[in-house]
Subunit: 362 residues, 2 copies
């Protein structure tokens, strides 16, 4: 009987009816532990809505201001859930990221948690309050609000698990665990009882919207089991842990959130310029995959959400290049040791608008 | 050429089209001063919407959590306006109340500003940035978010005027100044070019939705002129200042946001109990007017927005009283020295649901 962390995703807190389901779940779980820390996402599609409104004002909004804007989503959920828990007779208190002591680096929109000053949370737990933390956000050394990237509330939860030495961390969502493929697309997909951190990392890297990448890294590093469960069902669940890996296909992931950038020049491209472009992308916190150079062409993959930023950066810095963007769909097969079996799968990519790329990362 | 404060109300920032009008106004006013500090309210009806959603979860939500919830409204506006100003080529930065150094007392939902640490704002102004501050909010000594009460962004603006020793403070809204009566109800109402702090205070006390009460108190105390203007027109405007008062009717105000509370008991009410009730109301930050005691009855006025809180407090603490609520409409006539002329107006109140009360405060 000590501390558990419960994280509820956007669909689980989408409206007041669902917040009531979540509150009941929290109150039920109070039997499991003395101390409850809840981490919440923004309600439903609120984050997307705010991004849309900001992009109507500017194609490339300042990342610092975007963090300030988006962080309100989780703050609203935390305050509402705390109000509801108090109404149900259970003392609760809502904390923003900065109030919860979550300190990050200064990289806006994809900040990393550097440390958590748990003093305030511990004080509130001592007062026997349920602590509701706004996920996805922190504060940096400049006293600016930062966010951890899409899905970052998972990372908030696991980082709190480590900082508070909590016994368990439940990640609640609208699905009842991790599946071998997206059950909305592949009906025979099966739910996994367990998956290793390494495999889970591959699934997340491949682009599946399951758990935040950084959350799995932290879980692995500190050997903290994570339990993925459904908010709306007692059944099922998948444990992500330091499990012994067996050679089998664990998951097939389709990722449509990628974009291929092609930069073409009339003359040959110098090595120094290639280096300069790569450095510039990194310095602007652009996540680059499969960076390749040919004589008069540079090609690399980026995340679709960064496409406007990349386009603007390249156009302003490298006006003598022609820049093309292509959508990319990536299919990944994930499982320990399957590289031996999978060598026959040839990587294919065509220059159609939607390119299929069978990709095996192991 | 140094510092001006510009405050924009909820109607002025209600959508992206209006935000563009506001941004243009700010950029135009950059010709007037080196340093621009903008204070913004929540967009349109956002505050009301959040209150409604919270009240669906709890009839009497925790005031601390309400502050955390409502403060997001202004934070969203500040971030959006900063994004837009940057897009238009003018460096800007958005700050929440706590980032802007606005420290208040601990009274949630109607906090008073105790001091402003202007360091961050001054640093940003030195970098030639337009500073956009989320109005209506601050932080208390417990590192909790507080709000200043409805209309509190006016107070943020004037408090910043004092703290930054700014030259001017414009309060922009959808009306072009202070009127002798609500122009939506009385078509012959005329716009005043000037009004004294004392008169303005009476108008606000009487319940007119013009300027936040506390904002006028600060303006008066530090002798800072306030200019009320329209966001959508260059014409008009009213200066609120230390003006010499002339004996005339300046304003007629109708206030429907009041409630009369009647507490009745079967036996006579003791003086000690009357004192206890009054103390309890004050300790719970309930604003009480015209508290009167008769043998078996206590009667007083409260603000309509506090009616649920009062009802719950009285029912739980004083179960042996019958508690009745009645709506009240108050008509106030404001103007320096008019008490002499107005003695003939007899105060009348009837026990109908809507009671008219001609009230002369001078």
């Amino acid at each position: 009987m000590n501390t558990i962390i419960l994280k509820f995703g956007g669909t689980s807190v989408a409206d007041n009816i669902k917040l009531n389901v979540v509150a009941k779940k929290i109150i039920d779980l109070k039997k499991e532990a003395n101390n409850i820390v809840v981490v919440v996402s923004a309600q439903g599609k609120r984050t997307n809505q705010l991004i849309k409104e900001a992009q109507e004002l500017s194609a490339i909004p300042q990342e610092r201001e975007m963090d300030m804007l988006l962080a309100t989503g989780e703050q609203v959920t935390a305050a509402k859930l705390s109000i509801l828990l108090n109404r149900k007779g259970h003392q609760a208190i809502a904390l923003t990221g900065w109030q919860a002591g979550i300190v990050t680096n200064t990289i806006h929109t994809s900040a990393k948690i550097e440390k958590i000053n748990t003093k305030r949370i511990e004080e509130e737990l001592k007062k026997e309050k349920i602590v509701v933390v706004a996920g996805f956000q922190g504060v940096n050394e400049n006293a600016d609000i930062t966010t951890l990237g899409r899905g970052g509330s998972d990372t908030t939860a696991v980082a709190l698990q480590v900082a508070l030495k909590a016994d368990k961390c439940y990640i609640f969502s609208d699905v009842d665990g991790i599946y071998s493929a997206d059950p909305n697309m592949i009906t025979v997909a099966k739910r996994l009882d367990e998956i290793s951190f390494n495999e889970m990392q591959e699934v997340a890297d491949a682009g599946a919207k399951v758990l935040h990448n950084r959350c799995i890294q932290i879980g692995k590093k500190f050997n903290c089991d994570i339990i993925a469960k459904s908010t709306f069902s007692e059944e099922g669940g998948t444990k992500i842990c330091q499990q012994i890996e067996t050679a089998e296909v664990k998951s097939i992931v389709k990722n449509e959130k990628l974009e291929v950038i092609q930069m073409e020049k009339k003359e040959n491209i110098q090595e120094t310029q290639t280096y300069d472009i790569y450095q510039n992308l990194l310095q602007n916190n652009i996540i680059v995959e499969t960076f390749q150079k040919e004589e008069k062409q540079i090609q690399f993959r980026i995340k679709k959400e960064q496409q406007n930023k990349v386009q603007e950066l390249l156009e302003s810095k490298y006006p003598d290049y022609e820049i093309k963007q292509k959508e990319l769909v990536k299919l990944s097969i994930v499982g320990y040791g399957i590289i031996q079996d999978a060598r026959c799968i040839k990587s294919s990519s065509r220059n159609t608008k939607k390119t299929q790329n069978r990709n095996n990362r192991y």
